[in-house]
C-alpha cells in the first residue's frame, strides 16, 4: 500500500514525541503540598508510595483539613510541614469517612508504613443528604474500588461511568501519563481546572463578578438549614460503619490514629446545632473513635467565629492556630 510507510513513520514519530513528553512529566511534575481541586488517578498513584509516605503523619480528611478557599501553603498541614514536621496532606474536598477508609486501603496496599494518621470527623458528613455520605472521590473510587470488599461496596454508590468512552478513558489514563494527569498538568500551568477557566477567572475579577458572587454567597445561617442531621447516629449509618472500619484497619497495621472532631462555627450555626442532639451525636462519634483506638481531639468548639470563613472552614489565622494545636496535642514527630 502506497501510504503505509508514510503512515507508520508518522505514527512512530508521534508516539516517540508523546513518550518523550511523558518522560518529561515524570521528571518535572512536582509533589504538591496538597491534592489539587480535581486530582487524577495518575497523580494519586504517584503520591501513594512508600517513599512518599513512610515515617510521616498522614492527614486524611475533608476540605476543612485540605484548606478550603486558601492557598496550598496556608493550610494547617502545610504550616506543620513548613515547621519541619514530617506530614503529608491527603485531604481533599469531598472527603468523608468512606473516603478516608478507601484512601487508607490504598495506602496500605502500596506497602507504605506511615508514622500516624490524623483524620477529621465532620458531623455534617454523617447526614445521608451529604454528597460525600456514600460517594467516593472519582480518582479514589477508581483506584480503590477493586480493593474494597463486597461489604464495603454494597454501602457505597459507585459513580464511575460504564460507557465505552469512559472505559477507554480510564485505560489510556493508566499508561499515558500526559493524558492521565491532564487535569493536574493544567492546574499547574494555568492555576485552574483548565485554560478557559483561568481566562474566565481573570475576566470575572476584571468585571467584578467574583466580588458580586462572593457577596451573594456570604455565609448566613439559613444557607445551612438541613446540613446537619440531628437524628441519633447508630451503627446503621454509613459514615459510622466506615469510621469503625478505618480504625480497624489502622489497628491492624499498628498505626496510631488521631480523630479530630472538626472545628465548627457555633456562632453562625447556633440555631441549628447548639442543641443536645448535636452534642449527643458528637459524643457518640468520639466514643466510637476512642473505642477504635484513636486519640480524640475535640476541636468542635475550640475556635471563635472570627477564625472561620463559613461553617467549618478556617481562615488563614484559624489554620495557623489549628497547626499549633495539632503540634501540642498530637505526637507528630519532628
Amino acid at each position: 500500500m502506497r501510504f503505509a510507510g508514510t503512515y507508520l513513520r508518522a505514527l512512530a514519530t508521534a508516539v516517540a514525541i508523546l513518550f518523550a513528553v511523558d518522560l518529561g512529566i515524570r521528571a518535572w511534575f512536582p509533589t504538591l503540598p496538597r491534592f489539587d481541586d480535581n486530582f487524577s488517578v495518575a497523580y494519586l498513584r504517584r503520591t501513594l508510595t512508600p517513599a512518599n509516605l513512610n515515617g510521616r503523619t498522614l492527614f486524611a480528611g475533608d476540605s476543612a483539613l485540605w484548606g478550603y478557599k486558601l492557598e496550598a501553603g496556608q493550610a494547617a498541614v502545610s504550616k506543620l510541614r513548613d515547621a519541619g514536621i514530617p506530614v503529608v496532606n491527603l485531604s481533599y474536598e469531598g472527603g468523608s469517612t468512606p473516603n478516608t477508609y478507601a484512601l487508607l486501603r490504598l495506602v496500605f496496599a502500596s506497602g507504605a508504613a506511615p508514622r500516624a494518621v490524623v483524620f477529621n470527623v465532620n458531623s455534617k458528613e454523617f447526614n445521608a443528604a451529604d454528597s460525600a455520605y456514600q460517594t467516593l472521590y472519582p480518582a479514589v473510587e477508581q483506584l480503590a474500588w477493586p480493593l474494597l470488599r463486597a461489604s464495603d461496596t454494597s454501602l457505597l454508590r459507585g459513580t464511575q461511568p460504564a460507557t465505552l468512552d469512559a472505559r477507554i478513558d480510564r485505560l489510556l489514563g493508566g499508561f499515558w501519563l500526559l493524558y492521565g494527569m491532564r487535569v493536574d498538568v493544567r492546574e499547574q500551568i494555568f492555576g485552574a481546572v483548565d485554560a478557559a477557566t483561568a481566562v474566565a477567572n481573570v475576566q470575572h475579577e476584571l468585571s467584578g463578578e467574583t466580588r458580586r458572587e462572593q457577596d451573594a454567597h456570604r455565609p448566613t445561617p439559613d444557607r445551612f438549614l438541613g446540613t446537619y442531621d440531628l437524628e441519633p447516629l447508630d451503627e446503621s449509618n454509613t459514615g459510622v460503619v466506615f469510621l469503625e472500619r478505618s480504625l480497624a484497619l489502622l489497628r491492624e497495621h499498628h498505626v496510631p490514629a488521631y480523630a479530630i472532631l472538626t472545628p465548627t462555627n457555633h456562632t453562625l450555626l447556633h440555631e441549628y446545632i447548639d442543641v443536645p442532639e448535636y452534642r449527643h451525636n458528637l459524643d457518640y462519634l468520639a466514643k466510637i473513635a476512642a473505642r477504635g483506638g484513636a486519640r480524640v481531639l475535640d476541636y468542635d468548639r475550640a475556635f471563635a467565629a472570627d477564625d472561620f470563613i463559613d461553617n467549618d472552614h478556617l481562615t488563614v489565622a484559624g489554620n495557623l492556630k489549628l497547626a499549633g494545636m495539632l503540634r501540642r496535642d498530637a505526637n507528630l514527630g519532628s
Binding site: 503512515y7 514519530t13 474536598e93 483548565d194
Partner: protein
C-alpha cells in the same frame, strides 16, 4: 452554475478554497514528510490535552 446568492464581485467559489488557501499550500509542501506529519500530530495532541476543557473531570461537590 445558476444565479448566485446575491452576486458580489470578488467572492470565491467553493472549489477555489482548496487550491488557493495558503494554509493548505503550506501544509501540502511540508506534511508529505512523515516526520513532520508525526511531529505536527504530536504537537496538536499535546495542545488539545493541555488546553482542552476539563468539564468531564469535574467532581460535582457542594460544600454547603
Amino acid at each position: 452554475m445558476d444565479e448566485r446568492f446575491l452576486d458580489v464581485p470578488g467572492s470565491r467559489d467553493v472549489s477555489d478554497v482548496l487550491r488557493t488557501d495558503p494554509l493548505y499550500r503550506l501544509l501540502g509542501r511540508y506534511l508529505a514528510s512523515p516526520w513532520v506529519l508525526g511531529a505536527a500530530i504530536a504537537l496538536l495532541v499535546v495542545l488539545a490535552i493541555v488546553f482542552g476543557p476539563s468539564a468531564d473531570s469535574r467532581f460535582i461537590y457542594t460544600d454547603f
